[in-house]
Symmetry: C2
Subunit: 352 residues, 2 copies
Amino acid sequence: MHQKRQRPNSGRVTIDDVAEQSGVSIKTVSRVLNNEPNVRPSTRARVEAAVLALDYSPNPSARGLAGTHSRMIGLIYANPSPNYLFRTINGILEACNDAGYGLSLHAPSSEQPDLAGSITHFVAQSRVDGLLLIPPVGDIPAVLDALEAIHLPYARIAPLDGRPGLGVAVDDRHASAQIVEHLTQLGHTRIGFISGHPDHGATQSRLEGYRIGLLRADIEFEKTLVFQGLFNSESGREAGAYFLDLPEPPTAIFASNDEMAAGLLQAAHERQWQVPEQLSIVGFDDTPLSRMLCPLLTTVHQPIRHMALRATELLLESIEARNVSDGKSPKSRVEVFDAPLIVRGTTAAPNR
Amino acid sequence: MHQKRQRPNSGRVTIDDVAEQSGVSIKTVSRVLNNEPNVRPSTRARVEAAVLALDYSPNPSARGLAGTHSRMIGLIYANPSPNYLFRTINGILEACNDAGYGLSLHAPSSEQPDLAGSITHFVAQSRVDGLLLIPPVGDIPAVLDALEAIHLPYARIAPLDGRPGLGVAVDDRHASAQIVEHLTQLGHTRIGFISGHPDHGATQSRLEGYRIGLLRADIEFEKTLVFQGLFNSESGREAGAYFLDLPEPPTAIFASNDEMAAGLLQAAHERQWQVPEQLSIVGFDDTPLSRMLCPLLTTVHQPIRHMALRATELLLESIEARNVSDGKSPKSRVEVFDAPLIVRGTTAAPNR
DNA sequence: AAATATTTTGTTAGCGCTGTCATTTTGGAT
DNA sequence: ATCCAAAATGACAGCGCTAACAAAATATTT
């Protein structure tokens, strides 16, 4: 009596089981699984029923080995704020789950001497099909060049720097100008600015927006009213020490992010300055922190989660388009999101 | 003329190339790659040199398909605070990188009716070798039972609940008792407590610690001095509204985490209560937030990153031990970490 | 030195899928 | 009906590794 090969097979359901159950070849099952065309609807239904009945899910390793892509994308980040990363990951994961892709993280240390090398090494090792870059990694041309050299698709969440490619952005310049406008309309004329970390592209755009806002209100730009921060609360506190001890301090200060605004607020509290009566403060990002300060922080909302979701969708589209290699997916596309000003408790007309 | 099969092969270096370059069979290369014994040191060196020279890294899909494990572990989380997740991921990633494992995330929605099912589905689909569970997912017996049913190794970061298995913990009870001790030593006798989200195991332990602390100072427990919070700042503000409007308000309040402490501080500010002169506040977790409040928050430090790292190491050990199936790795092991009290600006002797 | 145990290396058969190409079936146009 | 293009399905060879087993080289014992 002939005995068929009988490996224990770890009890897992394979594509063969589905094929047998639905009475088609494994190739047809594969077609259904991958949404390929030219499958009769009735056949498709039969296969899908079998998949459900057997609770089958394809083996990602086998798919990756046999196919042309791994269905994995990578997220590269360096020194993000926890909150930023959190919202980003949530957005990415949502898009990945819908598309059946996995996410792999890579966090090169910020002071990495060879960031581009570290990233290409990660790509070689993890076999991701594409990469998502968040600030400030997406702002570094050397990294982008390296990825283009190995023809790896990527999408970035970055400021509008004019570089072609896939990505999402908010118009930092516009949003910053709006903040200044809000302050000038309240009657402020001496407005301080805490700039962000120099490695971030957004830092420059926000500074530009600040200057545009001043220009519109016909206020002259003063170098002494700009303090170089680092996107953390310590630098906000230092900025406070600097601004509040100035012979002629500003009546309002625009911090390039919420954490620095929090540090600034601390400095004001320590000096017994009343906010917003004696000093107006504006942040940027609308982090949960902005709602935990007292008074509640006026800030700019960034739809980070949604931006990350869209960036991921753009990336996945580009990956899938590459597999069919029709020229349907655009080579370059940047979607710009609104970043509305959220007026809360830290801004008011100046005290005279 | 005979022509060997010549697929483009995508230009990737494979184990065959390494074998050829070093003059051994692919199996020997595989041995070196997997740190298997019985390879002559000189051979090992030759292979390693070839790996380096060719910049080879093994294909994870091929490894996963041929081998018994995928070298991927999963992290399950539901509703974590961004900061908690951030530190956890950093710790996990560090351990994973050292061991050559990948990390896959799964974030079932908190109100998931069938959490255990969602997790086992994730496992079936992603083929992870093991799971890391953080609060409150690791506190749910149904989830743990489900994982044991499919024999999937897991490690959890959870309070000391006495359940056997792998994991790390801080002694929440002890830390909480210490907080109360700190307050009673300052002279407080009416101490309020904001408890945490009822789904978290830590909530119970911290409440117990609070009661133990009172007991030690010979202060009677009063139900009216406990407010049920939800680990978010809103509930902290609500707690503030409740406590501060009490006919005989407490002189100190211990919030089960920093966010609730922040909300409470807001409520105090709004009512013009001086902190710490009229009200002492203590938080739990030592989040960055605790250093952005004014005054700086007295709180308890949790070495989250390090705990996550150790939990991952325990998990990976258990996975690898399973592959060689010697009984060397312990079935149950919980490492307890210190959670020191960080006294900052929100606690002082009561005003009388 | 022969015999045996032990270490070291190699051979081969898949793992579970997808890509390629061959084959069958179907729906029209003649 | 007859032929033909298009749609639908199938057969089969790998993808790059590891597991199991086989063989060779070396060390140890008698």
